[in-house]
């Protein structure tokens, strides 16, 4: 059942037919997909959803494509992990990790947004797809485009982590490094999108693309037993994920799939690029762009497109925003890995680091349910932690040498 109604300007409310465009012609405000939810009355039930395969398309009525997905049909449905060890380490009673570091196929939540964007691009008739990326999106566009038989161009800052460059290049995409920061890449892509007629997933197809993030929220609620958490912490770059997780919760409430649990949404940024967190802390909705400088490169967007709306979601839900230093990011990456066996990328360190800080400051209560959204995989940002972990101890292939080492570790060989 297709319930998509239109594209609607978030500022002036002007509505547009469904088409590959992302800004309002009248006020330059962002366009968002709007739906006729009442068409789902009595149809879109927990039972229907549970009867479907375990991927993000089990919620397809709430994603803005016309038919069945033509790209990324297997994507999504990542684990929600009860983080018992991390609960002890942080002194909280109910903590979960939504683990998109293992999202199929490229190990970040971008596979969700890309499968929606590219499925929509195919519906629109595009043959070439493209993106401006801090890395994860490049890999996801490249991989999903390859699988769908689409040509792709990905634009990245020239100084990205090797794992992210390789993780896009392997798929045979045309990869363009731009001398500049992500914000420079983004600006160029806005101009290229207008000129070449390609589907830029986060430019002219952005309203559709961004909706894909809601699937992370839907899964979180279904996996909690059809319940929203009291608190959810999300990393913020443009701020889009923050707004879409909130939208997912409001939609499930509206559709009667869950009760309103008064969920508060919290945003996490790195101190070296924290324009949204700063606006929340300063009590203003004015976002001052910054020149990004942080090891959390996937969050290094100095001029966040959805910053204003993320700020509003945080304020309206009674959440908060925090930022952490690069050292705190590394410490949190190690903490997550050592307590829960999850190797998150730098953005995951930002999310956990900020959550830890907000627990300590009392902004996040210790006795209510908290979900941390981990959105990418640490194998892609190894540079960040390579000097922070133990090196292997080298010995000969000799039992006596190992016995000495084990004895030093306090182990006695069984007699």
């Amino acid at each position: 059942m297709n319930i998509v109604r239109a594209l609607k300007c978030r500022e002036c409310g002007h509505e547009y037919e469904i088409q590959p465009t992302h800004v309002c012609e009248f006020c330059f405000g962002p366009l968002e997909v709007v739906y006729d939810y009442e068409k789902l009355d009595g149809y879109f039930t927990r039972e229907l959803i549970e009867s479907r395969p375990q991927n993000m398309w089990r919620y397809k009525e709430l994603l803005p494509i016309d038919g069945e997905p033509s790209v990324g049909a297997q994507n999504g449905f990542t684990p929600l992990v009860r983080a018992k060890n991390l609960e002890k380490a942080l002194g909280v009673s109910e903590l979960y990790i939504k683990n998109d570091s293992v999202c199929y196929p490229t190990l970040s939540f971008k596979d969700r947004v890309v499968s929606v964007a590219l499925s929509k691009a195919v519906e629109f008739g595009f043959k070439t797809v493209a993106c401006a990326s801090t890395g994860n999106l490049a890999g996801s566009v490249a991989a999903n485009a390859a699988a769908a038989g689409l040509e792709s161009y990905v634009f990245i800052p020239h100084d990205l982590e090797q794992g992210k460059v390789l993780g896009a290049g392997i798929f045979g995409t045309k990869i363009i490094g731009i001398k500049g920061k992500y914000d420079d890449v983004n600006r160029l892509c806005s101009e290229v999108a207008g000129k070449y007629g390609w589907a830029f997933v986060n430019v002219n197809v952005r309203p559709f693309y961004a909706e894909g993030s809601k699937s992370l929220g839907y899964e979180m609620m279904e996996q909690l037993g059809w319940k929203a958490p009291k608190h959810v912490v999300v990393p913020m770059a443009s701020g889009s994920l923050c707004t879409k997780v909130h939208k997912s919760i409001k939609e499930f409430i509206k559709l009667g799939l869950i009760e309103d649990n008064g969920t508060a949404v919290y945003g996490a940024q790195a101190t070296g690029c924290s324009p949204i967190a700063k606006s929340v802390k300063d009590g203003t909705d004015l976002i001052h762009p910054v020149i990004a400088d942080t090891i959390a490169k996937s969050l290094a967007i100095g001029n966040p497109a959805d910053g204003f709306y993320a700020n509003r979601v945080i304020n309206e839900t009674g959440g908060w925003a925090e930022d952490v230093s690069d050292q705190e990011v590394i410490d949190a990456m190690k903490l997550l890995a050592e307590t829960e066996g999850i190797f998150a990328e730098t953005a995951g360190g930002v999310t956990l680091g900020c959550a830890k800080k907000m627990i300590e400051s009392g902004k996040l209560p210790r006795d209510e349910s908290i979900v941390l959204c981990i959105t990418g995989n640490g194998l892609k940002t190894q540079e960040a932690v390579v000097d922070a972990i133990d090196k292997p101890r080298i010995i000969d292939a000799n039992l006596k040498d190992f016995d000495e080492l084990a004895a030093a570790d306090g182990f006695d060989a069984a007699a």
Partner: protein
């Protein structure tokens, strides 16, 4: 001062389809006023009722965001390249 201004797709209906126009102006504010004179309707798209550049509009002079310079007062010189880019793009 004559500068070239790159016009984004959503505004080209107002410039007769032109993706670049040449405009006079000693600074960004003046340039926008002259844009309005040449292509009526452009200013209200770019600026709010107080004349401030809208939240969702980015203006760059020679690839530098005017927010990092002097905003509307940013001085222009002959041959400068100005880009107007909708802010709503990128990231997630």
């Amino acid at each position: 001062m004559t500068v070239s201004v790159r016009i984004p797709t959503p505004l080209r209906k107002l410039t007769g389809g032109a993706d670049e126009v040449n405009i006079e102006g000693a600074n960004v504010g003046e340039m926008i006023d002259n844009l309005e004179a040449a292509h009526p309707g452009l200013k209200e798209r770019l600026c709010d009722e107080n004349g401030e550049i809208r939240r969702f509009v980015n203006v760059y002079v020679n690839d530098e965001d005017v927010r990092f310079m002097d905003g509307r007062a940013t001085a222009l010189k002959d041959g400068d390249e100005v880009s107007i880019v909708p802010a709503i793009a990128g990231g997630c």
